[in-house]
Symmetry: C2
Subunit: 353 residues, 2 copies
């Protein structure tokens, strides 16, 4: 069933209010989640609602989280998310980075004591929409990515998003995990009984596996690059970089040592990192945007190996989905629809879809 | 032949002085080049001297380059490299970023009108040695990397370096190109008559090739990920991000459109981007460094798939080489030794090796 974005957003908001979330947190969380669905990043939108409900019921997610600025300078800030969902403190952090960078040329804001924050690209784009370069990253509370040569998962999919405003083109927007693929792609291959490309996943001994059932059992993803031969140490290094900026720099926790260092902790203490850069601190008015157009235009003229598959620029696939979904609504699988309705009912929220 | 680092550095300095480079530029360039060799990044150290000589003789490299700060704020700066080699303006830019970040918490410095600057990791490490997180990137004046689905090279190997200080461990230092492999690896495979791993390079039609001779002819490298199936759109996106920060943000030139937009230009106008972040702007004294130790220590305990190949942390391979080369000197192949001697002689510099 397709549901109009606004209706779906209202349903989410009703549930969050029923869960006890503040009005600003309700607004930010439902807006950011629906933005992911509109962009076609289905894994990071409404699909995560049942997970949030589980974490909430398990006492691992604060619904009345107190979000506070712990430290601040003209170009930096540190926000404590109070153990709640990440969308609201992340939205606040990105806005703070944007305001500071618009005034000072550059700013970085960290968030700690947070949780899942949805799609990184949604935050980076906020900066581009304000004429700035935006960067958003997060660490993850579970490990799924195995370092090159290793046998044990030591990082989450640690995403990097980077957005930049052009003059006539829509913003450049890279939104990527530092793993080769997501667990969702392993599931799809298992359902279809298709072998995995070598380099997607590892077996329990750290060897590449092409069996989707083995891969789903071990859940050991590879860093971008896939195999040592193809440079997976680079994806591993990028994942570690994201961890350093999101966890070590903010005081969030590193999943593999959380249990040992913080035994019995109620929350996961996830961390995020945001940055904004003003082109005006470096270039004359409009010059950056015109030069970015020049690059984007050049990329669009590159002949493709297969005429049916043109060369794309980061952000293109998502924009195609947005155009479609703004017209026809967001497709909600039957199973998920039932789950959302059931969560609304259990929570005492009005059922709206 | 192995030559002690200091002796090799003195030889380079003598040549640069003979070329007319200023004393500060001579010092920075020889120091940064030798640092690359000491780290085992042979492709970015003394090996590049013959290329610099060629560019100089072709009038494409200014020897008496005037390096100037064009714009400056407490947290940003833009440096014009005056059309000379990149090492000196890059060294100046990183130092400026470090000083500003030490005072304000965060800083970014761009360089334009520059050229090859050696190994990115050498600059990022300067920040880590001062207790800060360091980032260094550069674009390239020739294109060798083909965007996913494409048939034409549209980026250089656009490297990213990221360094961070730990408490008891040596700094974390990622220094990676955003391409799968360098052209040097294709050459090595061709010499050894070995097939290329699928995903290293493309033929003229943009299809993966395993023939090193075809690959050397077309010089079409893949972005990190290697193939569309393994996520090369991410490496492509990272290369574009580096281009945006190094060229569009600084006013440097994008290689594929340089001839059209700046016909007959003498210089390549390469751009670099540097950033430094102070952990003290976010964490209490020493907390960041201890948490980074915790992550590095955890990574070192991961069992490896092959006991002969332990899991490494970014910076490990380079440190092993430094320890060796500080004792035994830098290995200089016979051919290169002859070239350096000949360049010294032609330039009227004292021959010291």
């Amino acid at each position: 069933m397709n549901v109009p974005a606004e209706k779906l957003k209202a349903q989410l908001a009703a549930i969050f209010r029923a869960w006890g979330m503040s009005e600003p947190a309700t607004e930010a969380t439902s807006r950011v989640m629906i933005a992911a669905d509109l962009r076609g990043i289905d894994s990071h939108g409404i699909l995560t609602l049942p997970l949030y409900d589980e974490l909430r019921l398990a006492g691992k997610l604060e619904m009345k989280a107190e979000v506070r600025i712990m430290a601040e300078s003209p170009v930096t800030a540190l926000i404590d998310g109070g153990g709640g969902l990440g969308h609201y403190p992340a939205d606040m952090a990105m806005k703070l980075a944007i305001d500071k960078a618009a005034a000072a040329g550059l700013a970085a804001v960290g968030v700690r004591n947070s949780n899942h924050y949805g799609a990184a690209g949604v935050y980076a784009l906020q900066a581009a929409e304000r004429g700035l370069i935006g960067i958003a990253m997060t660490n993850v509370w579970t490990s799924s990515m195995v370092p090159t040569r290793g046998t044990r998962a030591m990082f989450g999919t640690n995403p990097i998003a980077f957005a930049a405003p052009a003059a006539k083109n829509p913003p450049f927007c890279l939104d990527m995990s530092t793993a080769t693929v997501a667990v969702g792609k392993l599931k799809l291959a298992a359902i279809r009984h298709e072998p995995l490309p070598r380099g997607w996943a590892l077996d329990a001994e750290g060897r590449p596996t092409e069996d989707p059932k083995v891969a789903l059992l071990t859940r050991r993803l590879t860093p971008l690059g896939g195999t040592a031969e193809l440079g997976s140490h680079k994806g591993y290094g990028l994942a570690a970089m994201v961890e350093i900026l999101c966890a070590m720099l903010t005081g969030a926790w590193y999943a593999p040592t959380r249990e040992r260092r913080h035994p019995g902790a109620k929350h996961f203490n996830v961390g995020h990192f945001f940055m904004a850069i003003s082109p005006k601190a470096f270039r004359g008015e409009g010059e950056f945007e015109l030069d970015l157009d020049d690059m984007i235009d050049a990329l669009r003229t590159v002949p493709s190996a297969d005429p049916a598959q043109p060369v794309l620029v980061a952000g293109d696939p998502e924009r195609a989905v947005i155009a479609e979904r703004e017209k026809t609504g967001i497709p909600v699988p039957e199973l998920l629809l039932g789950e959302i309705r059931s969560i609304a009912q259990k929570s005492g929220a009005e059922a709206m879809i």
